[in-house]
Symmetry: C2
Subunit: 379 residues, 2 copies
């Protein structure tokens, strides 16, 4: 691996200054090809007013010397780094990983690089990472709209364009509570007032409300009328899904129930799910907060001898990669995570190219029919 083996023939006395060892600059190309460095730049950039033969000579010299442009210098000179900063709560989980894949795609196609930063759910860290990104002169920033990041953002506006990914930034705990207590009839109105029906300007989000609606609709079509939503938590996405669930469940004339469980705590979830399924008004179908919760629900059902989907239909939201491999394979509302990243990136790039910030976009989920749902049985 040719470990840094220098100290061989470097001129005695102090070398002029620090500088990378074998770096080829346009100056050297200029010498070799007998033109000025200005011409080298023009030639290499495909500037129209350079004689073809000059261009060829320069190109040749560059190739011969193995020239690799110094983007740092270029950035300093032009002010554009062709890099976008990305601030996420974390990178390890499946969700953001997929989103990042979409971001990478979009950035790459446009010739942009992606500089990564994570907030770990901490406001001051968010602020710090934002500063790092800005110090590295990213041209624009993509952020996961979480509370920590939003708080950091609120402290000082960014000097570069920004696009948020995720649910509405204004959605806080008060809303979660409200969503849980409102009468179904008031929900649609409430959504409108809170501006949650569609994400605002500069935001790309998964349409959580709609996703739950899709799930309910599917179950309604199968004849289900006793529904439950499992997995309502304090997350904004959870609250929004509850909203969609209650709204649509109400419309199909269903008595619906909402049960709070934590997808992170298996025991918790199991207990709550069992209580629901063994309770007096056992639902015939369940919409789960996400696929992990759905897995928990199915597990709980099996534990008390309930067959899925024969005796209980379960719909997840997400479509994680194992969903198709489960027993039964999970019916779910696919979340277009990759697309989410892609759209957000495209929006940002539009602005970077001088365009206007596209209006906020809400991406719809897609129902993936598999084996965990079935027509309701005559009860």
């Amino acid at each position: 691996m040719a470990a840094s083996s220098d100290g061989q023939d470097r001129p005695r006395a102090t070398r002029r200054k620090r500088s990378a060892p074998g770096t080829v600059t346009i100056k050297e190309i200029a010498e070799l090809s007998g033109v000025s460095s200005a011409t080298v730049t023009r030639a290499l950039q495909g500037h129209p007013r350079v004689r073809p033969e000059t261009r060829a000579r320069v190109q040749q010299a560059a190739d011969k010397l193995g020239y690799r442009p110094n983007d740092i210098a270029r950035t300093l000179a032009t002010g554009a780094s062709k890099t976008i900063g990305l601030l996420l709560p974390s990178i390890g989980d499946r969700y953001w990983g997929e989103v990042v894949a979409g971001i990478e795609d979009g950035a790459d196609e446009a010739g942009f690089s992606v500089l990564l930063a994570t907030s770990h759910g901490d406001t001051s860290r968010s602020r710090r990472m934002l500063d790092v990104l800005l110090s590295k002169r990213v041209d624009g920033v993509l952020v996961a709209s979480r509370r920590d990041v939003e708080e950091a953002l609120a402290q000082a506006p960014l000097p570069v364009p920004l696009v948020r990914i995720g649910p509405d930034a204004e959605f806080h705990q008060a809303d979660v509570d409200a969503a849980g207590t409102l009468a179904p009839a008031d929900l649609a109105d409430w959504l409108q007032r809170r501006g949650l029906a569609h994400p605002p300007h500069g935001v790309t989000a998964f349409d959580d409300v709609d996703a739950a609606t899709i799930a309910v609709e599917h179950l309604a079509q199968l004849g289900h009328r006793r529904l439950a939503f499992v997995g309502a938590g304090t997350r904004r996405s959870a609250a929004l899904r509850v909203v969609g669930f209650r709204e649509r469940a109400g419309r199909i004339g269903s008595e619906s129930a909402t049960v709070v469980t934590s997808p992170d705590s298996l025991e918790e979830s199991d207990r709550a799910s069992r209580a629901l399924l063994e309770g007096p008004a056992r639902p015939t179908a369940v919409v789960a907060y996400d696929d992990m919760v759905a897995i928990g629900v199915i597990r709980a059902a099996h534990a008390i001898g309930l067959r899925v989907p024969e005796e209980l239909s379960v719909v997840g939201i997400d479509d994680i990669d194992v969903a198709a491999f489960l027993e039964p394979p999970l019916t779910t509302v696919r979340q277009p995570k990759r697309e989410l990243g892609r759209r957000a990136t495209d929006a940002l790039l539009t602005v970077l190219r001088g365009g206007a910030m596209p209006a906020g976009q809400a991406l719809r989920g897609e129902l993936i029919l598999r084996g965990s749902t079935a027509p309701v049985r005559g009860v």
Copy 2:
């Protein structure tokens, strides 16, 4: 977002040059605090020889102006970008996502940023992305050791330190074939000769051979003697796991079988698994290439009425997040993905700090006991 609102008191005639709108530089701090720009740098860097009061004055001016250092300029001046480049086949999958989390951790702690690039399994793209990273003057590079990347690397050595993540770079198809045909007795020796027992210099890898060994050992302790490995593919990791499996299975005096399936094709896998389980010498236990394959095997077993773990024990390798939620919960050999990223990063940082490249490291898997394995039944 305070759209570029200047044009107030800028000197008439053309402003000197392009430059970001509200950018504060050390020069302005210098003016405001009545010192030279050199002193500003020194003060801000915590240089020892600056009078405390001067430092304070400078710091104050900087704060007042909302100074944010320009890392691009700094990089150009110093030659160090405090950024490491990361080249992966993809970022969307769970595996690399976790690894990246470890990388981010390590880099962040050391004050480094991470610049992302993906190869999509394409050699020329790898080369290009490597060039992009180098143009952006990353101080070092971390790469997933896959064939495309290795080929790109072989074309020209990198001018910066590099650490590989993943299986041995020299392990090619010929080896895969060899591993599949060798007599168990020769395997250990073969491993040694190929230098696969431990990853070489500058490489951090999961010990695939060992992982399979761990799985076999666990099954052996439960009394199993008729074992099979399912999921051997052309991937290097698969070949290595087969090697470990056969070697250890041979030692415990087991008749072992190896069956090839593709974890990507559900139907394929199902068919192959069923053929194995319905065949004449049905194994009492299976080591799966990874957790996804394990899920497929369990599924196939259920499909033909075989209970897991009562009639068939199954061990996975990986420990994906749903492993604990499956029915039965999956016993598996956990792959320390995050740790992998962390170690590779630490190795790279050691070199960047002037240290010697640490020897290659192989990270051991850890057996996670859950419900898919049980003592062999009197057959």
